[in-house]
Symmetry: C3
Subunit: 338 residues, 3 copies
C-alpha cells in the first residue's frame, strides 16, 4: 500500500517530492518489461477503460500499451458525439455507470475540471488524461522523469536545473504542469521564451518566485536557450485559438535547428518537446536535422511515457511489488529496442 | 449444454419463464467475478466481435467488459460509414465473412430486423445489441433481473408485481420488450403513463390483457405512480422523432423528483430507468435529488447488466458450469465495489 | 529464425517462390487454432498496433483476430482526422513514437508509399495493410493461398494455372499484386477482362510476358471466363474515381450469375473476389444465386485470410515453431466451423 493505492491522479498539485521519487523508482523497474526482456502478467484479468472524449492517438495508445504490458485488458471509447453525454447525461451519471465496467479509468475530455467532476462519482480510480487547457499530469510526470534521466547521464539531478520553455506558454497545459512539478525541487532556474501575448500565466510565475526559484522572461530565442540544461520546445496549440489565422501569426516564431543549437546552446543541452512537433514548413519547431543529435530526447520522452504510465497503474492498483512475481520469459523475437 | 448453447439471442419472444430463471441463476453466480473478489479465465482465447453499426457507449462497454471478465478478448467495430455495408455489401456477406473472425458476435444496427438477418448467415452465435426501434433483449433481461433482485429485498417475487412505465412508450423498445417478458409471470399489473400520441402500441396492450394481466393507461403521472412496486421512467427518444421540435413537445412532460416521490409513491417503490437519463433542465426525467434515495435502482441496473451479459455469454458458449474451475485470486487493490 | 524474422512486409515484390511456400506451410498449420480445435497462447503478452488511417472493417478485424488467435493483445487506431498526423507530424515522428508502444504494427494509409516510409523509422516490424492504390500484400497472399488450396482439391498446383481477372484492373491494387505473385510460378495463363479505359497497367502486362507467361486481354466476359481454372471478379473501386458518375459508367459492366457460370465456365472453375462484393442491383458483380455453388470460394478466401495473417505474425515474430508448444484445449462450445 502506498499513498497512491486506490486513489485518483487528477492534478500535478497532488504530488510532493517524495511521491514523485516513488513514481520514478517504480518507473525505473518497468524498463525490462517495456524493453520486452520479460513479460509480466500481474494485472491479468484487470480492465482499463480508456475514455477519450477528445481526440488523441499517442496518449491513448501509450496508456493502453502500458496496461497491456502489465497483463491487463483495455476497453476504449473515443469521441464525444456518440456518447450518452450527448443525450443530456450528466458526468455524475456517466461516472456511476462506467465505473461499474472497469477496474481503473483514464479519461480525456475537452472541458476544464470535467475529469475531477467525473472522478468524484466514480467507484474506481480515475487518471486525468487531459481536461482541456487545464491539466495533463501524466505528460508532466513523463517530462520530469525524462529530465531526471537525461541529467543523470551527466551525474546531475533536478536540483538547480536550468530549463528554458519556449512557445505558446499561455495555452500549453504541459508547461504549466511541468513548471509546478519542477517547483518541488531546489533552486530551479526557469527561462520563459514566448511572444508577448502568449507568456506564462502570471500566477504561475509568481508561484515559482514565491517558492524561491529564478524566473527570466524573454521574447528572444537566442537569449533564452543560452546557458540552460534543458530546452523544452512546444507547439502552437492551434485548436485553442479563436481562428487558424490568429494561430498562424505565432506558428514559426521560434524555430530550432542544428545550426541554432550549435550557435547558442551548451553542447550538453537536452532538447525536449511534448510532441507532436509541427514539421510543416511554416512552423518547423524542431528541424529534422536535429534527429541525429544525441541530445534530442523527444523520442526517449514518449518511451518514458510508457514507463511512467505503467508505474502509475501499478501504484494505484497496489501491485508495484508483485510485478516481478508474475514475470515470464518473452517467447518472440524482439530485435533491438530503445 | 443448455437451451442456450450455440444459439442466438435475438428477441425476448424466444424465452420462456424457465429460461429466464436459468439466466438469472447464472447471473447471480457472476457476482464475485464482477465485484472482483475473484478472477476467472474460463474464456481465455475466445474472441467476441462487438459490431456496433449504431453509436453506443454503455451497451458496447458493458458487453465488452462482461466478455473480458470471463477471460475473453474483444474486437470492435463502431459506426456504419466505414463499413463494407456502405460499399453495397449485403448483411449476408458481412455475416459470412465476419463470423470467421470471432467465437461470438454482439451486433447493434439502426435497421429493424437487421440483426436477425445477419444471424441467419452467421457461423457463430449472435446477440442482438439493439436493432432500431425493434428489440434490445439484453436490456429487457437486465431490467427484469433488477426488478427480481429489488423485490427480493422485500421478500417479493415477480408474480403479482405492479409496474408503472412512463414516457415515450410508443418508440421505447425497452418498454416493449420488458412488458413482453413480464407477461411470462403471473397477474402483473401494468400502468402505462404517456402523452396521448406516445402510448404503448395497441398490439402489446392486447397481448398483455390476453395473457391475463391488468393494464391501466393514463396521462396523469400522479395517478400512474401511486400504489406501484416499480416506477420505470424513460427518456424521450429524440433520435426517433421527425424533428427535434416535435420531440421537444414531450421532453419534460413527466418529471419525478424527491418531492413527487414522497407525495405520490409508496415508501418502498423502486425507481428504474434504462439510462441515459436526460438531466438537462427542459427534460429532467429523474431529478438528481433522488440520487440519495435508497430505492433509486438506476445504477444497480447497469451493474446488473454486466452480470446478465456474462450469464448470456457463459450459457451460449456452454461454460456456465466451468467458470469457477478457472477462478483465481485477484492480485490488485479493489477498494469497495457496488 | 526465418527470412521473415524481425522484418517488414511491405510489398509482394519482396517474396520469392520459396518464401511463399514457407508462408503457406505455416498457414496450413494454423488451421486447428482458427477452427478452434485448439487454443494457443504463444504470443501472450505481445502487443499488435493496428493503425488504420483509412477505413476498413474486414482487414482490420482479420489482422486483429489473427493476433488474438495467437494469444496477443491488440491496440487500435482508426481514422486520420484525430491523429497527430493532422497536426503536422511527419510519418517519421509518428513511427518513432508509436513503435515504442507495440511489438508489431499493421498500418493502412490512403497515401501511396506511406507505409514504407513509416516502416523506415519504425523500431518494430510493420505490415502493409494497404497504402492507397499501391499495395495490399496480405490480400494478394491470401488470394494466392486460396488458389493453391482450391486447386489442390483437383490435384493441381499453381504452375500452369489459368486465371481470368475481371473488372477495374486499372485501379485494383489486389489484381496488380496478385498478378506479380502468380508470375513467380510456371507458365501461368492470364486473361484480363476489363473496359477499355480500365485495363491492366501496361507495365504489369509487359512484366508478365517477360517472365514467360501468357497474357490475353479482352472486353468480353464470355470469352474471358471460358476455359479458365479461376475467375477472379472485382469491384469497381468507386472511391478511386473522380466522381460517382464516372464510376457508375462501369458498375455492372460484368455480371456473373449461375446462368452465366453454367453457360460459359468449366464445371470446376473456381470463383473468387477480394470482397466486399457490391450486391446492389446496378452492380451485382456476383449474383447471390451463386451462393450455393460449391466452387464459389469467396468466403473461404476470407477464412484463409486469418490463416495467412497468423502465419505472417508467427514468422515475423519468430514463433512459427513454438505455436503448438503453447497449445491448450478449447473450453467453450464451438459448434461447426468453416
Amino acid at each position: 500500500m502506498s499513498a497512491f493505492t486506490g486513489n485518483h491522479i487528477l492534478s500535478v498539485s497532488q504530488f510532493d517530492r517524495e511521491q514523485l521519487e516513488q513514481i520514478f523508482a517504480v518507473a525505473d523497474q518497468m524498463v525490462p518489461y517495456a524493453k520486452r526482456e520479460k513479460v509480466t502478467r500481474v494485472l491479468e484479468g484487470a480492465i482499463l477503460n480508456n475514455l477519450f472524449f477528445e481526440a488523441s492517438t499517442r496518449t491513448r495508445l501509450s496508456f493502453g500499451s502500458a496496461f497491456n504490458l502489465l497483463g491487463g485488458e483495455v476497453r476504449e471509447t473515443t469521441g464525444l458525439k456518440s456518447s450518452a453525454l450527448a443525450k443530456g447525461e450528466s458526468l455524475y451519471d456517466t461516472a456511476r455507470v462506467i465505473s461499474g465496467y472497469a477496474d481503473i479509468i483514464v479519461m480525456r475530455h475537452p472541458m476544464e475540471g470535467s475529469v475531477a467532476e467525473f472522478a468524484k462519482a466514480s467507484r474506481v480510480p480515475v487518471l486525468n488524461g487531459g481536461d482541456g487547457s487545464n491539466e495533463h499530469p501524466s505528460q508532466a510526470l513523463l517530462d520530469l522523469f525524462t529530465m531526471r534521466k537525461e541529467l543523470a547521464r551527466f551525474d546531475r539531478d533536478l536540483d538547480e536545473v536550468k530549463v528554458a520553455m519556449i512557445g505558446d506558454l499561455a495555452h500549453g497545459r504541459t508547461v504549466h504542469s511541468l513548471s509546478r512539478l519542477l517547483a518541488l525541487y531546489k533552486k530551479v532556474s526557469f527561462t520563459f521564451v514566448a511572444p508577448k501575448e502568449l507568456g506564462m500565466p502570471i500566477e504561475i510565475v509568481e508561484y515559482l518566485i514565491e517558492k524561491g526559484h529564478e524566473v527570466t522572461e524573454t521574447q528572444s530565442l537566442e537569449q533564452g536557450i543560452a546557458d540552460v540544461d534543458i530546452v523544452y520546445q512546444t507547439r502552437i496549440q492551434e485548436e485553442r485559438f479563436s481562428s487558424q489565422e490568429v494561430a498562424n501569426q505565432y506558428r514559426g516564431a521560434y524555430r530550432i535547428n542544428q545550426y541554432v543549437y550549435s550557435q547558442f546552446c551548451q553542447p550538453s543541452t537536452v532538447i525536449m518537446h511534448p510532441l507532436p512537433r509541427d514539421s510543416r514548413a511554416e512552423a518547423n519547431e524542431l528541424d529534422t536535422d536535429l534527429n541525429e543529435n544525441p541530445n534530442l530526447a523527444i523520442f526517449r520522452q514518449t518511451d518514458n511515457g510508457v514507463l511512467v504510465r505503467m508505474a502509475l497503474f501499478a501504484l494505484i492498483l497496489g501491485v508495484e511489488e508483485k510485478v516481478a512475481e508474475y514475470a515470464r520469459p518473452v517467447n518472440w523475437y524482439i530485435g533491438k529496442r530503445f
